[in-house]
Symmetry: C2
Subunit: 634 residues, 2 copies
Amino acid sequence: QNDEDTFKILIATDIHLGYLEKDAIRGNDTFVTFDEIMKQAVQNEVDFVLLGGDLFHDNKPSRKTMHCCMEVMRKYCMGDRPIIFEILSDQAVNFSHSKFPWVNYLDSNLNISIPVFSVHGNHDDPTGADGLCAIDLLSCAGLINHFGRSRSVEKLEISPVLLQKGNTRIALYGIGSIPDERLYRMFINNQVTMLRPREDEDGWFNLFVIHQNRSKHGATNYIPEQFLDDFLDLVVWGHEHECKIAPVRNEQQLFYVTQPGSSVITSLSPGEAVKKHIGLLRVKGKKMNLQKIPLQTIRQFFIQDVTLSEHPDLFSPEQPNVMLKVMDFCQEKVEEMLEEAERQRLGNSLTPEKPLIRLRVDYSGGFEVFNTMRFSQKFVDRVANPKDILHFIRHREAKDNIKEEGMDFEAILSHPTSEVLQLRVEDLVKEYFQKAEKNVQLSLLTEQGMGKAVQEFVDKEEKDAIEELIKYQLEKTQRYLRERRVEATEEKIDEEIRQFRDSKRNTAEEDEEVQEAIIRAKAHRDRSDSVRDDDLNLSDEPADIAVESDEASTSAPTIRGRGRGSRGTSRRGREDSDSDENVAFLKCSKPKQKLTSLSASKRGSQSQSQSFKGVCFDDEDEFDPFKGSRPQRR
Amino acid sequence: QNDEDTFKILIATDIHLGYLEKDAIRGNDTFVTFDEIMKQAVQNEVDFVLLGGDLFHDNKPSRKTMHCCMEVMRKYCMGDRPIIFEILSDQAVNFSHSKFPWVNYLDSNLNISIPVFSVHGNHDDPTGADGLCAIDLLSCAGLINHFGRSRSVEKLEISPVLLQKGNTRIALYGIGSIPDERLYRMFINNQVTMLRPREDEDGWFNLFVIHQNRSKHGATNYIPEQFLDDFLDLVVWGHEHECKIAPVRNEQQLFYVTQPGSSVITSLSPGEAVKKHIGLLRVKGKKMNLQKIPLQTIRQFFIQDVTLSEHPDLFSPEQPNVMLKVMDFCQEKVEEMLEEAERQRLGNSLTPEKPLIRLRVDYSGGFEVFNTMRFSQKFVDRVANPKDILHFIRHREAKDNIKEEGMDFEAILSHPTSEVLQLRVEDLVKEYFQKAEKNVQLSLLTEQGMGKAVQEFVDKEEKDAIEELIKYQLEKTQRYLRERRVEATEEKIDEEIRQFRDSKRNTAEEDEEVQEAIIRAKAHRDRSDSVRDDDLNLSDEPADIAVESDEASTSAPTIRGRGRGSRGTSRRGREDSDSDENVAFLKCSKPKQKLTSLSASKRGSQSQSQSFKGVCFDDEDEFDPFKGSRPQRR
C-alpha cells in the first residue's frame, strides 16, 4: 500500500492564518486547524505537504500569526524521519527568487522531516520593491519551499520541480496567484509555457497547482480549465473556498481537477457550509488515488433561507404585532439549527463549541425588518457570530431569476458594499484634486493614478504604493518632455505637462498606463480585483439551503488514473532510484543533482490536444490500490 | 591564547536593523553592518554572540528587514563548526516565554554554529496581548536565544544562563528594556533579585546585559550603576549610542562597564561621531580581556560647530551681502569636512562613499538664516544627508551655560519638536472630546487615557491600544458601579459615571490609573518616554566638535580582571567538562542538564557591598593573556 514507489502527499489550501484573529470566539480557529492539518501530515507519514496558496489571510500577517505559523511548522516539519524522495530538477531555477535557492530538506543545517511546498495566493502575494511575500519569511527561515514564482508580468515559463520516489516521478508545476485578467491575457497571447522533461516525457505524473478564480466572474476574470495544458494529470485548484476535493475529470482536457477548498469559513455563504476536507494524494507511476480527510476542528456552520411571504398561514404584513411573530419564527429557525449543530457535534471533542449560524430572511411583500441587536442578544452565548445571524434581503424576484441562471444572490448583495467603499476612497482623491491647484504641485498625477495608489495603500497596507506611483509618473513625464525637447522655462513646462496629462484623462490609455505604472513601479500588482473576488469566491453555487449532510465524506472516492504513458515508468531501472542513495542524499547541502533537461510545451490548439489525447489515453489503466482503506480517522 | 578554557564572545548592541530603510543612500547601511558584525563573529571563531538590545529599529520591522535579518543569521550562525560550551542552568526557566524553551544549539533539528543571545531593547520590545517582540520571531525560527524576559511589571527575578567552557564558568544575566522609571522604582523598592548559583558561588564570571538610559535624563529616568549588584564582573550596557566600549571600572561597585554603542548613526549629534566598534570579549576563569574591533562599513560622520559672531574679521551682520558671505563660509567648512572624509576613506573599500555631514551654525548676534535648500543642492551628490547638513541655532548664552553643566544643547533643541508632535496628537483628542457629547457615548473615557492610547497607536502601530484602554476603563467603571450598588436606571448610571470620572480628572491618581491601564490591559507598557529617550540618547556629552581622531582605536586596552574568587574555578575537575562530552551534548534536544541550583542575591545596602568587596577583591589576580595581539584586522 505505502510502498517505496508511492508518493504520499497531503494537499490543502486557503488556510488563511490570522483570519479574524482579534475575534474573542473565532480568533484561534485558523491556528487550531493549521495544527490539525500538519498533525495529519505527520500521522499519515506523507512525503510532503502541498499547499495551494493563501496560507496567510493578510498580506502583512501580524506578529502573532507569523509566530503561530512558524511554531506549528517547526513542531511538525522538523525531525529525524528520513525523506525518501529525490529532487531531479535544477533547484536554483525552481527557487531562483530565494536567498537559499534549494529545497529545505537538502540543507545540511536543517533537519526537515516533512517538506512543505507552496505557491502564494492572492492574500499573501509578493508586494513592495523587493517583491517579498509573507511565505518568503518562512522560506528564509527554512520552513517552506516557495515555488511557482515569476518575475515577469508579461509571460510565464513554468519550470517544474521534478521529484522521484522509487520508480515514480512527479513533475510539480505551480503558478502563484496573478490577477485573473492578466493571466487570462497571457494564456490568450500564448505567453504561458510549461517546460517538460526531455527524458521519458510521458513517464511523469504531472501535478499542477493554481490559485485563481475557477468560476466565471466576468469575461476574463477567471481561468477556464481549457486553458491549461492537456499533458497535466491532476490540477490542485486553490482560491475557491468550497470544498470540492473529489477530483473531477475535465472531459476535454482529460485531466482531473481537485478543489480542496479553504480550511476556515471566511464568509457566511452556502459554499462555506460544505464539509471541509484536506486530501491525502497517493501517486504511483501515472496512477493516483485521493483520499478525503475530514477536518475535525472546523467550526460548524449552518445556513438557512426563509421567505416570509411563503408563510401566509403564520403571518401577513397587515397583522398587528407581526414583527414579534416574525421574530419568534426566526428564533425558532435558529433554535432548530442550534439543535442540529449540537446533535452533530456530539462525540467530536475537537469541534469548537459555538457554531456559525446564518438565517437569510426574505422580507419582500410588505414586511418590515426588526432590530437585529435584540435578536442577537438571545444567542450571544451560543453562537460564534451573534452579531450577524440574520441577513434581511428583499429581492425575491431577482433572486429567483438568478437562481435559475445558477448565480448567487449573496454575491450580488455583497457587491455594492465593496463598490461603495471603493467609490468613497476615489471620491476623497477627487475632492483632493479639485481643491489642489492643479497646475502647481500635482500636475504630474492623474486622479485615477492617485486613486489606484491610495486603494493599494488601503487594501494592502502597501506604504510605498503612492510614492512609487509618483516616481513612475515623474519619470514618464520627464521622458515625454525630453522627447519633445521642451524649452526649460517653467511656463512652457507647465503647459506641456498639462497637455500631456489632459490628452490622457479618462481614456483607455490612461487606464492602461496607470495599471502598468502600479505593476511596474512595484514590479508587482494591485490586488483590488482579487480582494473583491474573495467575497464572490463561493458564489457559483445555487443559493440553496446547504445544511451539512455529507455523511459519506469519509468514503474515499475511487479516482480513475488516466494512465497515459504509465507503462513508461518501468523503463527506469532500480539502480538510479535506490532508496538508500536517497537517504544519503538528504544531508548534502550542495546536492549532487541528476538534472533532467527540459523542453518547452506551449499550450497547443484544441484540436491538437484532442488528437494527442486520442493517441495516448488508455482507459484500461485504471488503478486504485487503496480503495476503501481509510486508517486516518482517530 | 584561544585555549579550551577561554570563552570568546562577540559583543555588539543597538544594530537598529531597518533604520532609514527607505532612504535611497542610507537604506542598506544597517543590513551591511549587521552582515559585517556576524562575519566578524565567524572569522573570530567566537563561542557566541551577545547582543544588548535594539537589534531592530522598529517595533514592527518591515518584511524586508525581517527577511534580511533572518538571511544574515541563517548564513552565519548555522553550520558544522562544533560548539564547545555547555549550558548548566534550567533552560526552561531561562527561556520560559519561548515556545521552544531551550537554547537553539541544543535543538537536534538545527545545526547552529554560533548561538546568538540577546535581550530586547526599547525599540524592539514586547507589545500586544501575546507579549511578543520582533526577536521572538527569530527565536521561534531557531535563530536567536532571547533571554532576560520578565512578565511581571512589579518585580524582577533574574535567573542567569549558566555556561561552562573547560574550567571557565559564566553566569549570564540580562534585563530586557523596561521603562527607566519603572525599573528605577523596582530597584528602589528592592524588587530586583539576581539569583546566584549555590555551587561555588564565587567561581563564576558574572556578566550582565542591560538596555537602559545610563546617563541621567531626569531624576528617575535612568539606572545608576550603583543600583546594580556588586558581585557582577562586567556590565554590557546597551541603549546608549556612543561607543565607549573600553570597560570602565566603577570604583564603588568594583565592576566594569562596557558600552559598545550603536552600529549605525541614528542622530547627527557628537556622540554618534565617535568611531564605532564591536568587542571581542575573552573570559578565562574570572579574568577577562576586551578587544575592540573597529567596524569598517560605518558611514563616516563629521560634525562641526561655527559661531558667526566669533568671526568679526570675516563679516558683521550690518555688512551688505553678508548672507552670501556666510554661505560661502559654511560651504568652505563643509568642503573641509568632505576633504577630510575623503582622505580618511582612502584605502578602505568597505566604507560607504558619501559621508554624513553636520555643520551647526550659531547665528546669534544679529545674523539671519539663509535658505538651506539651495545650499543642500551643492552637496546633493557628495553627502549622504544633503537635506539637513546645516543646523541653525541661536542660543549662544544658553548653550555656554549648558556646556558647563555637561548637558547637551542638541537635546534641548530636539526636545520641543517631539513635544510639539505629542501635543498635536493630544490636541486632536481633546478637540474630539469637546465635540462629542460627553455624557452620552464617551462617558467612560478620560481625555488623558484616550490621548495615551492614541499616542501608543501612533508610536508603535499598536492597533489594540485604543480598544484595550476602552475595555479596561469599561471594566473599572463597571466594578465601581457594582461596588456602589447603583440603581440600574440610565440617568443614575450616567450621573455616577460622571462623578466617578470628574473626581479623577487631572489628578495624579488619573495619571497613575491611565498608566496602569495601559500597562495592564496590554500586559505591557507604553514607550512614549523611551521613544523620546532615543533622541536624547547621546546627549550627555559636551557639544564639542567631535571630529573622529581615534586612531588608537585598534589597540586593545588591557583590562584588569578583578579575579575575586577566581582560584575557585580550579575546583572543578576535568572529568565533568570534557570537551568530547560537550560535542556529543550538542545534538541532544532534551539535554541531560547538570542543573546548578540558584540562590537569591538581593541588592544589599552600600555598606554591605563595601565590606564584601573588602574581603573578596584581590588585586593581584590581574590577567591579560592576549595583550597586544590583534589578528582580526583585514
